[in-house]
Symmetry: C2
Subunit: 339 residues, 2 copies
């Protein structure tokens, strides 16, 4: 009999679901295997009002077609009044801050990230217990952007010691090291950053489907991320940053950033933790740590995986969208036991 | 009246012309503006015999449709006997060494590059005055490959002091610095490495048409390359490494490495040298240095450029091939005066 593993209440704490036909395609793929997901607000225009939030959440619930799935909503960071945040806080799990222009649909993000400028909003968030999720990259050289952002994380962590700050999709040893330094710093890590380096993106052929922001870094960075994830470190959570782009936009002259991993993430993570003999720590990474950090109680869901080859589809599609997943056409050693 | 500049006997000392329909398409584009070009031998199978050399040269001459163009042929490095090299030396300008598997069609390259292993061939080349052209990359992390190759250049330069060694398409400050250290080390530099960094390839959208090997590096590397090219340093020559790949192979899941610059190289270089007020040094970079280093007398050709906008075509094509040039659809400040 094949070896099996059971995941309880898996959570994806960083997810792009987009909208309209793309939402219809990708939401069910997450909802079938995850109990909940923290949903990014970088639509066009971004999610910045209570009405937007509620309407988007309803569209997600409708598209996901799964009662045991909770979309945890976020607002796109702007200067918000405390009165507004009080009014909206029951609808959100956090607020996502993007430096302006740093990634897909972030044009209206923050152009100067410093405690002085952002103090009114961050103080209100701190008082109300609303976590701050950050895409931590400067506009410097592509391989240095996250590392250069570390002093900004540090000053925010120091200046707002009661504010929970989540360093999203970390990719460097420097970010891993910073986690231990501030009690109020946490992090999400994607599937791909545990597996690839820049060599996989651009070391052989150029691989658009492995191109994301932050870009995959060096071997020593991947090793640091892997160690902190495999060891059930309570400050890191799985956040796929699964980011669907239409196939023709990925395979073109100017390919958009984002790796689509939602439907394969749990299989790949199980294979990875199994390979490193750390399966007993997988549930901490994909669920328990997030439950504690965000203090949430998602719908219960048991996902059983077995050590049996799973061939990743070449793409996922509906009438209007075609999206290519990571490892398209390749084989993963673990499969979902049919739900 | 528009500002003009005249280039005498321009040379491209590192060029991929491919074969068959691709050769038919790209050879005339180089031949119309260059007096000569050093032609890479990495066909499939590679050029390793006197017969291959002569036949390939004839195909190039036929395809280039220009009497004032000389293809300077190279052999693909293997262990060759001195007798063979004596027999073939009038047909070649140098021998190109590829580490095995390091770039397009290099699978049959050298797996271990050390003076001991290669001594018989390198000694014969040194005795006969045949230059050695090297693609200098290890199989390490993509951003470190050229830097890691420096000790290999050093040991070859020391062990064969009379052998002219050309570090092909250098991309790093380390390679520029090494030039000054050994009398017998020279280098070629491409157009794109004087202009772009990894930020242009993967810092915004992913740009397959700017993806090449060695990959573009950091700003400090580009600055070092620029300084050595602009200053008419006699040890560096222009070598475009212009590498045509069919459009569909560049814009796909696994994009091949190579930037196609042959038809725009002189315009772009003129714009660049003009911008830096170094036009008086352009002829050294695109001709005079190579004439001295290789001791050649190519057909005379005067190329006049004027400061007048040139819109780069979206692609160059014939019945079977479509190739996208660097800066496709964009405007360059300098044009060729019609020939």
């Amino acid at each position: 009999m094949a070896k099996t593993v059971t995941l309880n209440t898996p959570l994806d704490m960083h997810l792009h679901l987009r909208d309209a036909s793309m939402l219809e395609l990708v939401a069910p793929l997450t909802a079938q295997t995850f109990s909940g997901a923290l949903v990014m607000p970088n639509l066009v225009p971004p999610v910045t009002t209570r009405e937007d939030l509620i309407a988007y959440k309803q569209r997600i619930i409708k598209a996901s077609k799964n009662d045991a799935f909770e979309p945890y909503m976020t607002l796109f960071f702007q200067q918000y009044s405390k009165a507004f945040l009080e009014e909206v806080q029951d609808e959100i799990i956090g607020i996502k801050l993007y430096p302006a222009g740093i990634t897909t649909n972030s044009e209206t993000g923050v152009s100067s990230i410093d405690s002085q400028t952002l103090r009114p909003t961050l103080e209100a968030m701190s008082d109300l217990g609303i976590p701050l999720c950050i895409h931590g990259e400067t506009n410097g050289f592509v391989m240095d952007r996250e590392k250069e952002f570390m002093p900004i994380y540090e000053s925010l962590a120091k200046d707002f010691p009661k504010l929970k700050i989540i360093m999203e999709h970390i990719t460097t040893k420097e970010a891993v090291d910073l986690l231990a330094k501030y009690e109020n710093l946490y992090a999400t890590i994607t599937v791909q950053h545990l597996l690839i380096t820049l060599d996989d993106v651009a070391g052989g052929m150029l691989k658009p489907h492995l191109f994301c922001k932050p870009i995959a870094k060096r071997y020593e960075d991947r090793e640091a991320l892997l160690q902190v994830a495999l060891s059930a470190n309570p400050k890191v959570m799985f956040g796929s940053d699964s980011a669907p782009h239409p196939k023709h936009k990925k395979e073109s002259c100017g390919c958009a950033a984002g790796v689509f991993t939602a439907p394969i993430a749990l299989q790949v993570l199980t294979e990875l933790f199994d390979k490193h003999d750390c399966l007993e720590n997988l549930n901490a990474f994909v669920s328990e740590n997030a439950l504690k950090i965000y203090d949430i109680t998602p719908p219960k869901k048991e996902i059983v995986l077995e050590k049996k080859a799973f061939q990743v589809p070449e793409n996922y599609s509906n009438d209007t969208e075609v999206v290519v997943p990571m490892y398209a056409g390749e084989t993963i050693a673990w499969s979902l036991v049919s739900l």
